[in-house]
């Protein structure tokens, strides 16, 4: 994980180094100050030596200003280094997701990807900033304060030798006791948020079935769980403040007691005693900070792992090394193709598929919900890789093509389709960013979208809202078809893309496609017989297998499944 994350520091390495260096410098000066002040008390104030006070005072002032500047410098560099690192992490994650294949996309939900890019990155950013500033500062302070106290009074510094390990053990104990609770709390939060999310989204269902009480009960259970764990965590964590105050004060009192003895014995001066108080503060302060940041850094480790999982995810489909960049016809061959969505699945989604589709042919695919119609066509633009057999387009295995070449030539209109925020035109240009206005209008005409687009007040410049909610389902489908047509593909796949379009319009779209792109291989998945009736051949899918292939007339006669579907639909006309 750390290795993965470290790669994202890149151009912020220099800043990341500047911060700890500045911090070390700052702490060095800071730890010298009490020593010098002690000298000032003994040799200046106690002896009434005014010129010594002024000299040393001047030195001290300069030192303070230097320490202030380097401390401020460390803060600024660490903040920018961490922000830059976070930006790189987001960048790496986003860019990497763009290389994901469908298989990878199925694995992460988009909501989880969004959280990883925001909340998790922010956690790591905060920890990183701590790591290059406070995590350097606190141990340095500890070491220097102990060193200085040994220099001032070796005997008194024995107080630290005894107290520091005890304190450290207490702190480690507290951290160890509290840490296992936090992952549980986070899981509790996940459950709580899920309940809220499902209730906000499904509020109509909740109200329809009058399930408010049951949902409230469930929510309370989740909230109670968090409360109990948190209360427990608070009891443990609060021990820290108790331990800090007690140990700090005990050490001060011990210094008072032994220090007085030493002064009376002539082994220590009053000024040195004052500096010892200062060092004792610093030692315990540093330990406390260490305990605090270690908890936070451990907590952010899980965020780090979640980020690394996204970056380390191996794209299931990669561009071949020497790709074929030329695709010159729409010939498709399925050769003993089998496929399942997940390694461990019992059911194969596709079983031993053999099919040859000639360039320019129109193929209809029909079958029940869940018969793997969409899965079958997903193999053509290589959205998934087959598990057995091969898919060949224009004579080459799809795996040998440059992905962009393949997908530009195989236009697929997805069943679950989306428009993006922007104008209608900017959405259509996704198909071909260099398309002229004429080409855009032509594609829209073929997809029968030009009519309603021109009726809109702003025409092709009409703004599409996020999610495309301001156009109807049928309009959206026609726009997504037009978007695909702009690619001028060799193969066009319509995956139930006209389900919300009325039959008359649909027929016109089919006719326009035949007329405007005669050479394109057209594959149409539909649940309606009328949509595929005129196809050159129709493939009947059943539970992941091709049950039959033939023309409408042939299938009506010999295929039971097909003829029952046809009969049902005939009846309901």
């Amino acid at each position: 994980m750390i290795k993965t994350l470290k790669r994202s520091i890149r151009q912020y390495k220099k800043l990341s180094w500047a911060s700890p260096l500045l911090v070390i410098f700052e702490v060095l000066i800071e730890m010298l100050i009490p020593y010098l002040v002690g000298m000032m008390i003994d040799q200046g104030i106690n002896k009434g030596n005014m010129s010594f006070i002024w000299q040393l005072g001047g030195v001290l002032l300069v030192m303070t200003i230097l320490s202030l500047l380097s401390g401020a410098g460390a803060s600024i560099t660490s903040a920018h280094a961490a922000a830059g690192f976070a930006a790189n992490l987001r960048h790496d994650m986003f860019y990497h997701t763009q290389d994901y294949a469908f298989e990878n996309i199925d694995k992460f939900s988009s909501a989880s990807l969004v959280t990883r890019m925001t909340t998790d990155v922010t956690n790591v950013q905060n920890s990183y900033q701590m790591l290059i500033r406070i995590a350097v500062r606190a141990p340095m302070m500890l070491i220097l304060a102990v060193t200085m106290s040994v220099i001032v009074s070796p005997k008194l510094s024995l107080v630290f030798v005894v107290l520091v390990p005890i304190f450290a053990i207490i702190l480690v104990g507290i951290i160890m006791a509290a840490n296992p609770i936090f992952p549980k709390i986070f899981r509790g939060y996940d459950r709580l948020n899920r309940t809220v999310r499902e209730n906000v989204r499904g509020i109509r269902e909740v109200k329809t079935y009058v399930q408010e009480q049951a949902q409230i009960k469930q929510f309370n259970k989740a909230a109670q769980y968090i409360y109990k764990l948190f209360a427990k965590a608070m009891e443990i964590i609060s021990m820290q403040i108790f331990a800090v105050m007690l140990v700090l004060n005990i050490s001060n009192l011990l210094i008072c007691w032994f220090g007085t003895h030493l002064i009376v014995g002539g082994e220590l001066t009053t000024g040195q005693l004052v500096s010892m108080f200062s060092y004792s503060n610093s030692v315990l302060f540093a330990l406390n900070i260490l305990a605090m940041i270690s908890t936070q850094i451990i907590m952010s480790m899980s965020s780090g792992r979640r980020i690394a999982a996204v970056i380390d995810e191996e794209p299931a489909i990669k561009n071949p090394v020497k790709p074929v960049t030329d695709l010159n016809n729409g010939d498709i061959v399925f050769d003993h193709v089998s496929f399942k969505y997940e390694e461990g699945d019992k059911h194969y989604a596709l079983k031993d598929i053999n099919l040859h589709i000639k360039s320019g042919e129109t193929i209809g695919i029909i079958g029940e919900t869940g018969s793997s119609k969409s899965t079958l066509v997903s193999m053509i633009p290589r959205l998934y890789d087959v598990d057995g057999g091969a898919v060949r387009v224009a004579g080459h295995n799809v795996k040998s093509y440059d992905l962009r070449t393949l997908r530009d030539n195989v236009a697929m209109v997805l069943q679950k389709n989306v428009l993006f925020s922007g104008t209608i035109k900017s959405n259509l240009l996704w198909g071909n960013e260099n398309a002229t206005d004429e080409e855009v209008i032509q594609a829209a005409k073929t997809a029968h979208a030009d009519g309603f687009v021109s009726e809109m007040k702003d025409g092709y410049d009409t703004v599409v809202e996020q999610g495309g909610n301001n156009v109807s389902g049928g309009q959206k489908q026609r726009l997504t078809i037009a978007r695909a047509l702009l690619k001028k593909p060799k193969i066009l796949i319509l995956d139930d893309s006209t389900s919300a379009v009325d039959t008359a319009t649909e027929r016109q779209i089919r006719e326009a496609l035949r007329k405007d792109m005669p050479e394109t291989t057209k594959i149409i998945i539909s649940q309606r017989i009328v949509s595929i009736k005129d196809a050159d051949r129709i493939v009947v899918m059943n539970h992941g297998r091709i049950e039959d292939i033939g023309t409408h007339d042939e299938l009506i006669k010999r295929n039971d499944l097909y003829s029952t579907i046809a009969k049902f639909q005939e009846e309901s006309r």
Binding site: S238, T260, L383
Partner: protein
């Protein structure tokens, strides 16, 4: 602009603060009081420790130096007294930290519970007007900052204020001259701190905004990632991302720089004060400007260390308190939104064990209750409705759905089909006219009971995390396993459920996971079937199911619908041709009504639709 905003939000925040304090007090008065005492005592103990140094040097070290045989007994006594003060202080610190932490959790729990409970009874209009992400962030961000404020900001703020007060008092008691000198530094630091915390506050706001923007962009692009892939549009998506990412980087760097630079500055201001006091104090002692003992200078040096940190703390906690109050105001806003009104008196009783045994409980004048079977006669009489005043959506709707009738609603998107169905179970209240159910005006029926007797199956299916079994049983929690299987078979969901690895025990998450849209619709139909209610509304309930399956489901549904009054909204006319009554809607008006044959004979809108001359948009 920002000042205008301030004027508006200021009273809101003040009100929120008052309400919040009341809420905290109500949750546990003794915890608050004990914590407050704890804060005071622990702050006082800390200051007492610093003063002890003066005592030590002046009253013990120096006299002891003069004694021939030093007597340490009084010193030991003094140290033991100090030790007990420290122990008490530490215990108090532990107490307030634990209590405030637990109290914060309790308040959080309480607020969450109240908010969720309240939310469940908010009218649907609330969910239409507020975005999902916005509602969600009240549960997460707003409550989190609120908890932070109670458990950390408030005690730390109080602790810092008290420490500062005690320290200043102690300083005065040691030497008023040096204290006045320190005040100059104090004023200087306070100015710097205020500047830095204000700046960082502003920049954090900008950072939040940028974070929101990149969030929105990511959500859209990652949701449509499959489309991005199909169109090889990766490079363009990346370019858009880079812009937001760079803006966020800059904003975040600035915000954090301002926030972090505060610590070294305050720490070194402390050092500066430390050095200056030793110089000035030394000079004053030597030149006898002020009566300063060595012990006093030493104590003062120690005090000056405790002087600068509280100032930084106060300023910082002030920022987070203000932020948390804005969140609290947003939470209270939810709780203040009026719940759905329910003045209905008439209830419906159903027998869990007997199917279709729904009875009206009609209160009689003599106080008794008359039981009448529910028949499902729905009448709309001149109903008008608007979501927003002045924008009427439904105009003069008249429907007479006799018991057992299948009524179909046909029309374009936005014609008002779904709106009519929403009127029926009072998701919204009508503006004028009346709707009656077996002759009883809807508003006289208790809302829960009304809804329990009217099922809606929506086009967009929402499932809840849990097993398939639990999701079907959502329709009627009392249903037996056999009844669930029965409903699943009737709705044709049984087949695909058996194909799943764990059958009915398969756990699905709220998004439906691997289920297709069609399969989710089958589940939601099964859910409706098991609920067994006298009136059913099917709002595009089968739009994602293939026609053959739909046909099979239809048979099961027709069985189910027989004897019940049903309203069917469907895109495919095939599913509604056998309806008893078809209503054609256009722009919120019923323009044609009758059965299939009658409407075809009219050769109007419906005829054009059916023959494909007109399309539904």
């Amino acid at each position: 602009m920002s000042s205008l905003e301030n004027v508006k939000t200021q009273p809101k925040r003040t009100a929120a603060l008052g309400r919040l304090l009341k809420l905290i007090m109500e949750t546990s008065p003794w915890m608050v009081i004990v914590s407050a005492i704890g804060v005071i005592v622990s702050a006082a103990a800390q200051v007492a420790g610093s003063l002890f140094i003066e005592d030590l040097i002046n009253n013990f070290v120096e006299p002891l130096l003069k004694q021939k045989t030093p007597d340490y007994a009084p010193l030991l006594r003094a140290i033991l007294i100090m030790l007990s003060i420290y122990v008490v202080g530490a215990i108090c610190a532990y107490l307030y930290s634990v209590l405030m932490g637990i109290l914060a959790q309790r308040v959080q729990f309480k607020v969450r519970r109240q908010m969720f409970k309240h939310m469940q009874y908010l009218p649907l209009a609330y969910f239409d007007q507020n975005e999902y992400g916005d509602i969600m962030s009240r549960y997460t961000n707003d409550i989190d900052t609120l908890m932070q404020m109670i458990s950390q900001s408030i005690p730390q703020f109080l602790n810092s204020v008290l420490s500062l007060v005690f320290v200043v008092c102690a300083m005065f008691s040691v030497s008023w001259q040096l204290t006045i000198f320190s005040f100059i530094i104090f004023a200087l630091s306070f100015g710097i701190v205020r500047y830095l915390t204000t700046k960082s506050g502003q920049n954090f706001k900008i950072q939040q905004k940028k974070l929101g923007q990149i969030n929105g962009y990511n959500e859209e692009m990652l949701n449509g990632l499959k489309v991005v892939k199909v169109f090889s549009h990766e490079a363009e998506a990346e370019a858009g991302f880079d812009k937001y990412n760079e803006e966020l980087r800059q904003a975040s760097g600035r915000a954090n720089a301002y926030a972090t630079v505060l610590f070294p500055i305050m720490g070194n201001m402390g050092n500066l004060l430390y050095v200056l006091i030793s110089i000035v104090g030394g000079a004053a002692a030597i030149h006898n400007w002020a009566p300063l003992s060595l012990g006093a200078i030493a104590a003062f040096l120690q005090l000056s260390r405790q002087f600068s940190m509280p100032i930084a703390q106060i300023s910082q906690q002030l920022n987070s308190i203000v932020m948390a109050l804005a969140g609290a105001a947003r939470i209270f806003e939810v709780m203040d939104t009026p719940e759905e009104s329910d003045e209905g008196q008439v209830t419906i009783k159903s027998d869990e064990n007997v199917k279709s045994a729904w009875h009206w409980q009609l209160p009689q004048a003599d106080g008794s209750v008359k039981q009448v079977p529910v028949r499902g006669h729905i009448v709309f009489d001149d109903v008008n409705f608007s979501y927003f005043p002045g924008q009427e959506i439904l105009h003069h709707i008249n429907i007479d759905a006799k018991p057992g009738m299948k009524v179909a609603l046909v029309g374009e998107t936005g014609a008002g089909k779904t709106t009519i169905s929403n009127m029926l179970n009072r998701f919204y209240d009508i503006d004028s006219g009346t709707i009656t159910y077996d002759g009883i005006p809807l508003e006289q029926i208790k809302k829960d009971d009304l809804r329990q007797s009217v099922t809606i199956v929506l086009q967009e299916t929402h499932l809840f995390t849990g097993t398939i079994m639990e999701n079907i049983r959502f329709g009627r929690p009392g249903a037996s396993d056999d009844e669930v299987y029965q409903a699943a078979k009737l709705s044709h969901a049984d087949e695909f459920i058996h194909d799943l690895d764990d059958g009915y025990e398969t756990v699905i998450d709220g998004n439906g996971g691997d289920l297709s849209q069609g399969q989710m619709q089958l589940l939601s139909i099964a859910r409706a079937m098991i609920s067994d209610e006298p009136v059913m509304i099917l709002d595009e309930a089968t739009s994602s199911i293939d026609t053959r399956t739909e046909k099979v489901v239809q048979q099961g549904m027709d069985n189910l619908l027989s004897g019940r009054t049903s309203f069917v909204i469907a895109h495919r006319l095939s599913t509604i041709v056998n309806s008893d009554l078809i209503l054609v809607l256009d722009h919120g008006r019923i323009i044609e009504h009758g059965n299939h044959e009658e409407l075809l004979a009219q050769k109007g809108y419906y005829y054009e639709l059916y023959t494909g001359k007109r399309e539904i948009q």
